[in-house]
């Protein structure tokens, strides 16, 4: 029976997390349009339901019923496969994120841990799956048989490879401090108030992580792969209806995971900012912190213009990587001197 209960717990957790992630993605698109609208002194979507709250559903229905075109010059199997790779990797990324501590089901002694998988190599898992997800964009652009698509996907490849280096290096400081790759362990070490959060010990790494994270999920100012004004949408130029929606959802799911990882690594995960506030469940704190990051991602999109492609590459290799290396060296030096 124990195994059966475990199985039920796993399935319920997977379904709940998947549903929450999808709802989060749906309303993130709404929030983005709303916030960008207000930044640009417009209203944003306000026709579907109150405050346009039903807009995501109307978009989903539209995506489902649009005609699904596959261009004649496209490589059909790869063309169909590419959005799937994107969405699968973006969703499975969330499996290792701890979004709460644990609770006991009332009336039993069954402890439910609020994460899908608690693996020893959580941080590496995130990086591995993110690197698989990049194939979706690259193959999608290549398989369209379109020169804009190919240019977009080649830019995506170069940009992601360069910024992945700085992203990985910026996080190494956290690993040195916490001596583990297990995400729950990293969160536990940040317990006891906001002054214990890693962001105070690794401020440089935090800033580098945010900038490289933006480049990794192809957000403005690093949205070179799709650059509407020069590439007419880049890698997803030939995609329509549900396949385009899958790419879109993958991008937003990846954005949620980037924010969740920032919360976990730097802002103390589900830990409350003050110890006396710990009567509020950890999930609430986690969601609140995540919302701050998601709002930041949208806000900066309304603020910064897009960089030029060569500027992005120069910035990545000549500024981000040396800074991340310096941060790593200083962290290592301080930790080894303190013993």
């Amino acid at each position: 029976m124990q195994v059966l209960y475990l199985l039920i717990e796993m399935i319920v957790k997977c379904v709940v997390v998947f549903a929450c992630l999808m709802i989060c993605v749906a309303y993130l698109t709404w929030l983005e349009r709303k916030v960008l609208g207000h930044i640009q002194i417009r209203y944003g979507p306000n026709r579907c339901g109150p405050y346009g709250l039903l807009q995501p559903f109307s978009d989903a229905i539209k995506a489902f019923f649009k005609e699904d075109l596959i261009p004649g010059r496209a490589d059909k199997p790869v063309f169909v496969l590419a959005p799937m790779i994107s969405i699968i990797s973006a969703i499975s990324l969330f499996a290792v994120i701890p979004f709460g501590n644990q609770f006991t089901i009332p009336g039993t002694d069954w402890v439910v841990k609020l994460r899908i998988a608690d693996v020893d190599i959580g941080l590496l898992y995130v990086f591995a799956l993110a690197s698989i997800g990049e194939f979706g964009i690259i193959l999608g652009g290549w398989a369209s048989g379109n020169k804009y698509g190919l240019t977009g996907s080649l830019r995506a490849a170069a940009q992601m490879i360069s910024y992945e280096v700085a992203l990985g290096l910026s996080i190494l400081g956290i690993i040195i401090l916490s001596q583990t790759l297990r995400l729950t362990e990293i969160v536990h070490q940040q317990a006891g108030g906001f002054w214990n959060w890693n962001v105070w010990y690794q401020p440089m790494a935090f800033i580098l992580y945010l900038i490289c994270g933006l480049a990794e999920i192809n957000r403005t100012p690093f949205d070179m792969p799709e650059a509407e004004s020069e590439l007419a949408c880049g890698f997803n130029i030939e995609y329509s209806s549900m396949k385009f929606a899958l790419f879109f959802m993958a991008e937003y799911a990846h954005m949620v995971t980037m924010g969740a990882l920032a919360v976990t690594l730097f802002w103390g995960g589900w830990q409350p900012p003050f110890p006396f506030l710990s009567f509020i469940p950890g999930v609430v704190w986690f969601s609140a912190k995540l919302f701050v990051f998601l709002f930041f991602f949208i806000w900066q999109r309304g603020t910064f213009p897009r960089l030029r492609y060569d500027q992005i590459m120069k910035f990545g290799w000549k500024v981000m990587v040396p800074l991340a290396l310096a941060n790593l060296l200083i962290t290592g030096l301080v930790v080894s001197l303190k013993g």
Binding site: S131, I138, W142
Partner: protein
């Protein structure tokens, strides 16, 4: 319960083994190099699952991160940048490379068979057993930075030399 677990492990192993063999065969028979690269990814992922069955989480994730992620990404990148049709038009004869390749492959096969069939040369096991290595990343790091520090540094110097060499070759002015 034990038996169900064992059967499940066997089923996963068989599935992954056959998929990886199928992927390897498709990898060398496809005409389109991008399709070959895709089957290479599939093969790497199957091998990563087999590592997981051996309780080696770290090796499995490094397999995905480094091989399936980074290296195949570079391969795809190069394939997209090069004009492959030019090579086909020039009707390059691949006879010698095929012969050398098959000889190397057969030698490698013999090496594998020897490694599997022959008993371990000394018959002793070290302090870093498979269980210990698979348990956590710490054990791998300890082995790498204590026992194998010198080879590790040699490899890192080799990589730096390769990077600098590539930069110098690409920066050379054609006069």
């Amino acid at each position: 319960m034990e038996t169900i677990g064992t059967i499940l492990q066997w089923l996963i192993f068989l599935g992954m083994a056959f998929t990886s063999i199928l992927a390897s065969v498709l990898l060398i028979t496809r005409k389109n190099p991008i399709h070959s690269a895709l089957f290479l990814i599939l093969n790497f992922l199957c091998v990563a699952v087999i590592y997981l069955l051996l309780y080696s989480q770290f090796i499995a994730i490094i397999q995905v991160l480094v091989y399936a992620g980074a290296i195949v990404m570079l391969i795809v990148f190069v394939i997209m940048l090069l004009d492959l049709e030019e090579e086909l038009r020039s009707r390059l004869k691949l006879f010698y490379s095929k012969v050398i390749g098959s000889v190397l492959a057969v030698l490698f096969l013999f090496g594998l068979i020897y490694g599997l069939v022959a008993t371990s040369p000394t018959g002793k096991t070290g302090s870093y057993t498979a269980e210990k290595m698979s348990a956590n990343v710490k054990a791998v790091g300890e082995a790498l930075f204590n026992q194998y520090l010198f080879p590790f540094e040699v490899v890192s110097i080799l990589l730096v030399v390769a990077i600098i060499g590539a930069v110098i070759l690409s920066k050379r002015k054609l006069s």
